[in-house]
Amino acid sequence: MKNTRLVGLLLATTMFGGTAAWAQTTLTIESWRNDDLSIWQDKIIPAFEASHPDIKVVFAPTAPAQYNSALNAKLEAGTAGDLITCRPFDGSLALFQAGHLADLTDMDVLDNFGPVAKSGWSTDDGSATYCIPMASVIHGFIYNADAFEELGLSVPTTTDEFYALLDKIKEDGSYIPMAMGTADEWEAATMGYANIGTKYWKGEEGRKAVIAGTMKLTEDGWVTAYEELAKWGPYLGDGYEAQSYPDSQNLFTLGRAAIYPAGSWEISGFNAQADFAMGAFPPPVVPGGECYISDHVDIAMGMNAASPNAEAAKTFLEWVGSPEFATLYSNALPGFFSLSNAEVTLEDPLAQQMVDWRKSCHSSIRPFSQILSRGTPNLNTEYWVTSANVIRGTMTPMEASQHMQDALDSWYKPAQ
């Protein structure tokens, strides 16, 4: 019965679709977020289609690790979708320079975003913007609130308190103080170095100084960040050297670890998995220092310059930049915080807690994402390895910093 109705419906659309006043356009979205497939299909796309009945949207994600190469190949061959989910910085910049991404600078909807949000998808001089910013991710620490209560612990605000707290958990022995491994290396870099280090190099100030060539990676802030990271080894679980990213997630959600150095994208997964109360705290400050967080622009959406449905694609992008989308997206995917200037209320308390840090802390993007990972060796990759090495103790903080600076010097000449 249901089938025949469907067939009838299909027949009707094929017969009348062409002659109807509104010819339906189908837009395809390229994305690496295959985890979000159901959210796009069930929540986001229906919301758009309800207000735009003439446009049909298909979300067609690729596996994250293959996304960049697969997208490149599709764009070269001319088979890519109309809408392209944009990686931040150089990945998308290269696509724009190669003429694959359309210039969106003239779109009014871009006024809804601040300069930091747009920096991830603009040319170096900021003259052209080619993707509509969607969301950023924030780093910090998520903790097992039940375990904290059980052991009578309170949330640390300074580094001294933080390490005293870790010592206490370790001494008690019923929980692993922190759930993180070095097997996958990138955790050590983003959830470790970028997370706790931002306060030492003073966020954007230090990051821009390195790009300008007025600061070296062997200088104080960058080395002290490694020095703090070097303390982590003993607080991680036994055999953390072979502990992978999913291992760490499981360790925390099974309630065996007290603290998880986190990215905000974990929130929805943790909400589903963990059966204990959770809280979050920003990276503890140096006593007397100011609070800095890594608030990394992560995801945006642009338009395939060769798309035959440019008008419909622009309509969709207008909607992506709207406050309506910001609220919808941030609530559908707690932990991906909209970059829009529009006021967004989050239903998830943990996500709300993390996004509130923006009010009391300085935000900065990850240190090596912009410009500094443009050459070979790529600093973004190098800091994965050096951060993991520092935690493992196979590299001293000074050696790690020297390695980073040498890698940068081998190809980067700051414009002065």
């Binding site: 960049n68 097997a183 055999g239 050297e241 502990q243 990759t381």
Partner: protein, 307 residues
């Protein structure tokens, strides 16, 4: 009359060879030359430009590249060494034991030892990662049961052990191949020779060292070259167990992972097909050299042992 049949026969040869030649040319020879061509070009302003041997000069001259290359080659050599020193002797020993006529349950042992060979790398990598996991693995528990827990290390996460561990896992997986080949070779030794030896008083272990081993040397040669080619093309197991970054600290980097990261790119590092092709050509040359040495120096001498 005779000339006509001969020419007809030549037609047959061409027709019968054609499918294989065409398929092999399309799938192997053309891509090989395509790779060679790619390695001689470089992308400049969205255009492929011929640069001669510049890519090879970069690979060997620029310390950033050459260090990675030599590290990969060194690791590959160690990977090969472990296989030659562990996999092949064990394979030969098992085959020799299986060929003892008095042994029972031969079929069972043979199958059990051969099964890992037909498993996918992904299954083997995942299973061993779980077995050796310090968190959920059975390896630490098993060691604890016999009071040797202190011997356990997170092997896959330590620079000094990771590559050897992966090599030994690969040995576990592939020990069935030398076993089967040697077993077949041992079975093909005519009983007359062994009986003649027995009459002269050569029995047991002596018979193995003096009669069987010289007769299976050509098979051992074939196994060595198969191991060499397989090991220098290794990639899958390292990729499934340690990722494309060949963690920890590139200590499990083999030529395959180096090629993969360079060619396809990794995370924020964009792919460089030209340098990737350059590395692929070097892998090809290294394997070619090994095979040529084997064919011209070793196999020609080995023929003398054959009867």
């Amino acid at each position: 009359m005779r000339a006509e049949t001969r020419s007809r026969r030549r037609w047959h040869i061409a027709i019968f060879l054609a499918p294989a030649v065409l398929v092999y040319t399309a799938l192997m020879i053309l891509p090989l030359f395509g790779t060679l061509k790619l390695s001689l070009y470089q992308q400049v302003d969205q255009q492929q430009v011929f640069v001669g041997l510049d890519n090879f000069r970069t690979l060997f001259g620029d310390p950033n590249w050459s260090e990675s290359f030599w590290r990969a080659l060194r690791n590959n050599t160690w990977f090969f060494f472990i296989h030659m020193a562990v996999q092949n002797p064990i394979g030969i020993a098992i085959a020799a034991m299986l060929s003892v006529p008095a042994l029972r349950f031969k079929g069972f042992y043979r199958t059990a030892i051969f099964i890992p060979t037909i498993l996918s790398f992904v299954i083997v990598g995942f299973a061993w990662k779980l077995i050796l996991s310090p968190l959920w693995g059975i390896a630490p528990d098993l060691l604890k049961m016999v009071g040797l827990r202190h011997l356990f290390h997170p092997w896959l996460g330590k620079e000094e052990y990771a590559l050897t561990t992966i090599a030994l896992i690969s040995v576990w997986q592939f020990v069935g191949i030398p076993m089967m080949l040697i077993y077949a070779a041992l079975l093909s030794i005519p009983d007359e020779i062994l009986e003649a030896g027995e009459i002269d008083g050569i029995t047991g272990m002596k018979a193995f060292w003096k009669i069987k081993l010289p007769l299976i040397l050509p098979s051992i040669g074939i196994i060595s070259i198969l191991t060499f080619v397989g090991n220098f093309n290794a990639f899958d197991l390292v990729y499934t167990m340690e990722g494309a970054m060949a963690a920890p600290n590139f200590s499990t980097e083999v030529m395959g992972t180096f090629l993969f990261r360079t060619f396809f790119g990794h995370q924020t590092q964009p792919g460089d097909p030209n340098m990737g092709a350059t590395i692929a050509m070097m892998m090809f040359f290294i394997i070619l050299t090994g095979v040529v040495i084997y064919l011209f120096l070793i196999q020609t001498r080995m023929r003398r042992y054959q009867f």
